[in-house]
Amino acid sequence: MSRELVRYLLTRFGQLLLIVFVAVSINFIIPRLLPGDPVQTALARLQATGGAQNVDIQAVSAAYRAKYGLDAPVIEQYFNYWLDLFRLDLGVSFANFPEKVSTMIGNALPWSVSLLAVATLIAFATGSLLGARLAWPTAGRGIKAFVPLMMILTSIPFYLLAIILIYFFAVVLKWFPPAGGVDTTRIMRFDWATTEDVLKHAFLPCLAIVLGNIGFWALGMRSQMVSVLGEDYITFAEAKGLHPRRIFVWYGMRNALLAQITALALSLGSVVSGAVLVEVIFNYPGLGSLLYVAIRGQDYFVIQGVVLMLIVSLAVLLFLVDLIYPLLDPRIRR
């Protein structure tokens, strides 16, 4: 490892810490900037909407006052907030008192991560391949027809695509289940039936995210390829008499992909935002649905916990993308 690489990694790690710091602080500050006592407001709303009829409000309230020390100076509250975070203590749910927010997030996280990871990878890979193919001079009329289709797909928010997909594939054709992560009657085991069930439920949400993103990758890759193909080293490779496929993959795609990876890092935020809503539409048991249920039930600390989780895990993901970058681009490694 050269000194530049170490410096690169340290800067990126610094950015990771900065984003986490900003996110935690925002999460702490915003509720306190607004008028009123957050716990009182939340509990009052909870009662007003009838969300807590079976909950001992006094017990909840007392638990929160003690935990948050809301009468203490703000600096002390802020310090305690960080201490709790380091202990992975995100508080307990109002609606499901006294279940821990961290447990609820822990249950939801694997669903979200696997769905989003698989969908993003598929969209990125197929979109980039398609985009590269679109930019290649020999692209036929048939494949060129994909351009307007890709433009339409990038424009439409993918949670709206999700609604259309449910209607056609789950309601009209009944090929896939319309909602949920598994059949409600299923006991989760590691066997083929369970796996099949999970995959069947995941297919449509995954398809919605893939369709919603593929156009972005295809169009981005296309314009990158067009500029890469104009470079001198491509002309040189052609003059050397290299096989067109070799030029396409190793001289064209490889260089165009660098910009795509940067775009991946920048767009992950909006992908996550969209995926949250896709989960809501499908009632998929991930973080998105947890957030939605929490918003509906004014479950204050669950909302905060999920939001924090979203921001932090995205920051970590970005850091991972940054770690991959030197592997792809030797200029950074040097």
Binding site: T154, L266, V307
Partner: protein, 286 residues
């Protein structure tokens, strides 16, 4: 007349592309729809319980009715301008603030630049919905204007980034150097030399910000964080979800708002692609 001739020349040179015209055409059609529409329908029909519920589209109700007894056609006509309004307000504020911060960062540099850059870069990578949910969830009385403000609070970073990068390029140009030697003040240089050359970037950012804002607004509304007593496209989606309209086969409830939303986004997207060609004639020749 000279405007028209210059318009025609631009079209013949390929600067005004079919894409731009198509995009602007779609947007114009939507604006006209929401401007003229209200003259032909009775607003009362968009209120809960005004008409018979759950009627499919037909002669009596052009786009059918929802299960709360609202006429979908009337609802759509009143919801579209509200959604556009939120997008435009958030777009203006986001681009205004973004341009100001970008100018300050790029022109003055130093510690101010560092702070603005670090904050905008950090916020760009955060999933917007996460922060917006926290803000929107803490507001007691939501309405469309407040919604626009909430979304605008995270709608400035992209403009800031673009404007800052352009200012850094432009201020090294020789005409700026000439102005400096001529004794123009910092502010004069900023507003008479740099600003006019930023306009294409600002317009492009505006289109992008309006699109992003509408996306965020509809997202928040779909989560039930919108101004639920006002008619908007996102709220219509929310109510249709609440009533399981998809599973119960009431396609006329969620279908039309999705089509209008899609048209808005496609119009904005085509406009921005077409505008790119207008602002960079080099692209048009390709």
């Amino acid at each position: 007349m000279s405007f028209l001739t210059s318009l025609r020349r631009n079209y013949e040179q390929g600067r005004i592309s079919g894409v731009l015209l198509l995009g602007l055409g779609i947007l114009l059609a939507i604006v006209l729809f929401s401007a003229i529409g209200p003259m032909f329908v009775d607003a009362v029909n968009a209120q809960v319980g005004a008409v018979r519920p759950r009627k499919p589209p037909g002669a009596e109700y052009f786009l059918g009715t929802d299960s709360q007894g609202r006429d979908m056609w009337t609802l759509l006509i009143y919801a579209t301008p509200n959604t556009l309004k939120m997008g435009l307000i958030a777009g203006f504020i986001g681009v205004g603030v973004g341009t100001a911060l970008g100018l300050i960062a790029g022109h003055f540099g130093g510690i101010v630049d560092a702070v603005i850059r670090v904050i905008s870069d950090a916020l760009l990578t955060v999933p917007a919905i996460a922060i917006l949910v926290i803000i929107a969830g803490n507001i007691d009385r939501m309405n469309t204007v407040i919604m626009a403000l909430v979304v605008a609070s995270l709608g400035w970073m992209f403009t800031t980034r673009t404007v800052r990068a352009q200012v850094l390029t432009i201020r090294e140009k020789s005409y700026v150097e000439v102005a400096r030697v001529n004794g123009e003040s910092q502010w004069e240089i900023l507003f008479t030399e740099i600003m006019p050359n930023l306009m294409p970037y600002i317009v492009a950012s505006f289109v992008g910000t309006v699109s992003g804002s509408i996306l965020a607004v509809i997202g928040l509304e779909a989560l039930g964080l919108g101004a639920l007593d006002e008619m908007t496209l996102g709220n219509t989606i929310y109510w249709s979800q609440q009533s399981s309209a998809v599973l119960r086969g009431y396609w006329w409830w969620w279908g039309p708002p999705i089509v209008v939303i899609a048209l808005i986004f496609i119009g904005l997207f085509l406009t921005s692609v077409g505008f790119d060609r207008f602002a960079n004639p080099k692209l048009a020749r390709r």
